[in-house]
């Protein structure tokens, strides 16, 4: 099992969009995937037409069994229409609602999230955490469990602040993780989102990102209006517009993630 966290201490940069599509993409390719909505706003929960409820809260604070909190996403919601029936993988969501906000005040130690998800290490291939922008003790607990991090960022100068913040937070944890014999958290990618390739500002900022983070920077995800439609349809772009260029862009994200997960260190 690999635990991957989508992170940027800024809202509206595409965390939820990437979390839903990377998890759906891997599920379509046959993996068993859990998407944990760790944001009190519950955007990842409603992204698949599920209703908001305190699943994550119950799991962490009240030690609820996984059976009680996991919600299966019907294949029709995330898979390519003609192939929905032959999905081998599975996509399950741990839903969220406003109660997620009080998890931080109720967890006893930084290993709570790790301990819970460790239970499923043999049953599940990937766990994605879609996080909220405001850092809290819950973030620490999620960092503790995380194997790899993906930072989506817009290509506007001001969005880099959030990215820099997140990266320093990540470094803070590395001595503690070493003490507990956990591997260092791997940065799987810095993903430029909502990219406008025609504007000089975006081109400039992409170059600056690449200068700073080198090959960690993924191919930018262009801005497209269809993404808003995808969100309001409560599906993935794979399911809604399978042949579109945007679906292709999304598949390319999944490819880049797989390349980085399976590459030799």
């Amino acid at each position: 099992m690999k635990i991957i966290t989508l992170l940027n201490e800024k809202g509206g940069v595409g965390k939820t969009t990437l979390a839903t599509h990377l998890s759906a993409g891997l599920a379509i390719r046959g993996k068993r995937v859990i998407l944990v909505d760790a944001d009190p706003q519950g955007h990842a929960t409603i992204a698949f037409g599920l209703s908001k409820e305190p699943g994550f809260y119950d799991l962490i604070v009240r030690n609820a069994p996984f059976q009680k909190v996991l919600r299966p996403v019907p294949a029709e919601r995330f898979n390519v229409p003609d192939e929905a029936h032959n999905t081998n993988g599975q996509l399950l969501v741990v839903p969220s609602n406003i109660e997620t906000r009080s998890i931080a005040g109720n967890i006893s130690d930084a290993f709570t999230v790790l301990k819970r998800f460790n239970q499923l290490r043999n049953a599940i291939d990937f766990v994605f955490f879609d996080t909220s922008p405001t850092p809290s003790l819950l973030h620490s607990s999620i960092y503790m469990a995380t194997d790899g991090i993906i930072y989506p960022t817009k290509c506007e100068a001001w969005s880099f602040d959030g990215l820099r913040e997140s990266l320093t937070h990540k470094d803070q944890f590395s001595p503690i993780r070493q003490q507990y014999n956990l591997n260092d958290i791997k940065v799987l990618g810095v993903v430029p989102t909502m990219y406008r390739g025609r504007t000089l500002e975006h081109q400039d900022n992409l170059r600056r990102l690449q200068d700073t983070f080198g090959s960690l920077v993924w191919k930018p995800l262009p801005v497209r209006t269809i993404w808003t439609e995808v969100a309001s349809a409560r599906r993935t772009v794979f399911s809604l517009a399978p042949g579109s260029g945007t679906a292709e862009d999304a598949w390319h994200l999944v490819d880049q993630l797989e390349d980085r997960i399976y590459e030799q260190p």
């Binding site: 059976q67 009680k68 299966p72 019907p74 029709e76 290993f111 239970q119 507990y180 809604l240």
Partner: protein, 402 residues
Amino acid sequence: MSSRERRRKIQTEDNLLSANPNTLDPKTADAIGFGLGDLALEIAAADNDFQAIEAVSIQEIHPNSIQPRYSIPHDLTDIFALHPGNIVDIFERWIIEVQLETGQKDFDILPYLQGQATSRGARAESDAPDQSAADQPLFGKETALMKIVDLAASIRRDGLSNPISLVRHADHYEIETGERRWLAYHILYWKFGDGDRRSDGSVVNWSRIPARVVNQVDVWRQASENNARDNLNAISRARQLSLLLMDLHGWDNFVKIDACENEQAFYAQVADGAAWRIPRGQGERLLNAMGLSDAGQLRQYRALLRLPADLWRRGDDENLTEGELRKMKAALDNVTRVTIQKSKSKKDAVARLAADATQWRNKLRKEINSLDNNNKPKIRRLIEAEIRQLMRLIADIDESHT
């Protein structure tokens, strides 16, 4: 397709998807065809394994008598029953024995627990059966003690990262896994009590240990925990193999450990490989649980169950390897064959044994007397224990005499 067309299409499809997946747990979802299949069952199994963590009083916890690893040297558990009320006595006695064994009269565990001294690290760590204690046979008790002291020091420094697992009985808990962590908590409670302030400012109560309460002792879970945490010595592995075999054949076939003459006799119930074969199709599981790679090794560990009692104990206390024990057994077989023929009088041997015991006791008495007077009650307890042991020894001698 235009944006508007697409939106209309979505609405109709949404109606088709009227089953609200939100109200379904994976099992129900599976039943109506979301295709979770095995996954739902695996998640249910993981949930069953999970139990909330509680803080349980270390005094309410009793060791499991069939835990394959013996953390405390046999001659200490001969004197003191492994009962929560005796643990401090055991450690006091153990420390004194280390003082005698190593000749360091001022040996104390406190500096190690406080992080002021580090244990003779590599030595304490090296309990891998291959690096046997043979290169330092004189320090067996020290090595075994320092392993628990090091564990206690690391728990005090970093916290307990893995809760122990317990089975609840009417008036106590029984350890499934984590006997050494429980012993470490006893040391920490003895030395620091409750309200201990750690270097990071946090306050800990050592009288209670984080534990997961499970329904019953599962020897397979015990085995996987033992293999993951620490290398077991050869004797412990033989015990573990025995437990797994008993589990495979059904516990009703075997006498309980309390009814056996000694602990070895309990495990030796499956020593006969022809009578207690590995059930068909279970070989792989058994090898995995034991962390072994071929059936020949299983046979070798099973053969250890028939070691002479003294070799069994020595192998356990000194962490001898399976290979070493096999050779010693072969050598011993030769020697006994010879001595049985030659021995004129059994009486001589018994007399020598008694003389040895007296000499040993006198030496210990002298050492106890040289301890400072502040330790009076401790000394009295030691002497009482000493006398009890001596009486037992004499009883043994009397018995073998007749």
